[in-house]
């Protein structure tokens, strides 16, 4: 069942009420923003539960079992607990910076979904600079982490914020170049055009030998670093920095960082699925189901990484990006350009 029919019906009902077109557009945009927030909140709640269950499975434990069926509503209980928690602002903190950091973190994670195609037609606004917009907006997360680190006036937080800035900045470039090698083939930045250019399975960019798999691997590695996940979780390394940049945060402010972190993980998986795995394309099932299957598959890969690889050292982390990933990504981009020009495997 295609979901787009429901939204088209609702939109027509709205038009039929006879209010001016400006208001119709405004109401539909605000409604879609609220719907997407609801969906993202559900996804984040599910991902927290899933991560806990998976880590339990990897370690042969049970994980949360008591709240609901196999602990399914455990994260709902956690959210209810967090909303009741006292909100502490340290006396020495820079109050406005401390206050706005979680807001910017969440909004940066949320605003990406303007142009993420959840299915055929299920996109709020097909921006013509789609992927560039996504890359630009996700970078705002760094600013919020730096603000959190600086504003807390705490040594662990400052170290975590600085590390995350250095790390995200270093892995940003290989990620952009890996994305560009796909853009060379598509010839458009729009997310819908990217998905439509990979209608059949052998057209998925991950299967375009030889540049596709290389770009995909670079993208996955850089995305793991961008979302500060293990093995690149130095900014919040529990054993040395306690919790990194969010150490002084409590209650709903902490919840916002946590929510944004899981939304970001879903975002990079969604971008990966859109760029390399054909987005919503697939037979038999509705398009949005295919999108979710591919995205959750990538999320599973990220969670799998977490329990497979040990954490890197800071110097290894930085040198890996600048001395290996970046030259490789550029070589791959030139290869992709050559393939596009010469017509090799240009099906």
């Amino acid at each position: 069942m295609e979901l787009i029919g429901i939204f088209k019906y609702l939109y027509e009902q709205l038009v039929a009420t006879g209010i001016p077109q400006v208001w119709v557009d405004l109401i539909s945009l605000v409604a879609s923003a609220v719907i997407i927030f609801g969906v993202l909140a559900l996804i984040a709640l599910f991902l927290v539960w899933w991560e806990r269950k998976l880590s339990a499975d990897f370690q042969q434990r049970m994980g949360p079992m008591l709240t609901g069926w196999h602990g399914l509503i455990q994260t709902v209980a956690d959210a209810i607990k967090l909303i009741q928690k006292e909100d502490i602002t340290p006396t020495k903190a820079d109050r406005p910076v401390f206050f706005w950091a979680p807001i910017i973190c969440f909004v940066a994670a949320f605003a990406v979904y303007v142009t993420v195609p959840f299915g055929e037609g299920l996109i709020v606004s097909d921006l013509n600079i789609g992927i560039l917009y996504i890359v630009a907006i996700t970078t705002f997360t760094v600013i919020s982490l730096l603000m959190a680190g600086w504003g807390s006036n705490n040594k662990y937080a400052l170290l975590g914020g600085m590390r995350s800035a250095a790390q995200v900045v270093s892995y940003e470039v290989p990620m952009i170049v890996a994305i560009l090698s796909v853009i060379v083939f598509v010839g458009s930045l729009s997310m819908v055009d990217i998905v439509e250019s990979q209608a059949l399975i052998y057209q998925w960019y991950i299967f375009r030998m030889p540049f596709g798999p290389i770009a995909f691997v670079i993208f996955i590695i850089a995305a793991t670093a961008e979302t500060n996940r293990t093995p690149f979780d130095l900014p919040e390394a529990e054993q040395e920095l306690v919790a990194g940049f969010n150490i002084e945060y409590s209650g709903m402010k902490f919840a916002m960082f946590f929510l944004a972190e899981f939304i970001n993980m879903f975002t990079v998986s969604a971008i990966g699925a859109t760029l390399f795995l054909g987005g919503w394309q697939g037979p038999f099932l509705p398009s949005w189901v295919w999108f979710l299957v591919k995205t959750f598959g990538l999320v599973f890969v990220f969670m799998w990484f977490r329990w497979t690889y040990p954490r890197l050292r800071v110097d290894q982390l930085m040198e890996f990006s600048w001395k290996f990933l970046l030259p490789l990504a550029f070589a791959n981009l030139i290869l992709a350009g050559w393939m596009k020009y010469s017509g090799w495997f240009n099906w």
Binding site: V30, V34, K85, T91, V124, S152, N153, G251, E319, K323
Partner: protein, 117 residues
Amino acid sequence: MAQYAAVLIFLLVGIGIVLFTFFMSRLIRPSNPYKAKNQSYECAEQPIGDSWIRFNNRFYIFALIFVVFDVEAVFLFPWAVAFGHLGLFALIEMMIFIMILLFGLFYAWKKGVLKWV
């Protein structure tokens, strides 16, 4: 332009949702601050000094290299979009551009800038 109205709406709705949840939590949460609780956390020790101090300039150097490559990426985006009908000339030109920047990276590498210790 109408496409981009969605971006503005999303930013506003996003900020609104967060402020709303902060407000809701304010209604039901306790508030009992005192001096010791509001102290900066330092593993239960009395915090020593301020944390707004001079910082390792490695971070600055990496940020500097990043800016170079990020600006390059901005140049690469229009190139990648238009590449389909530009042909060999654009490919070779962009190869030269990338080579110059990679040469810069190699220079920084040999100068020991990329070493993190």
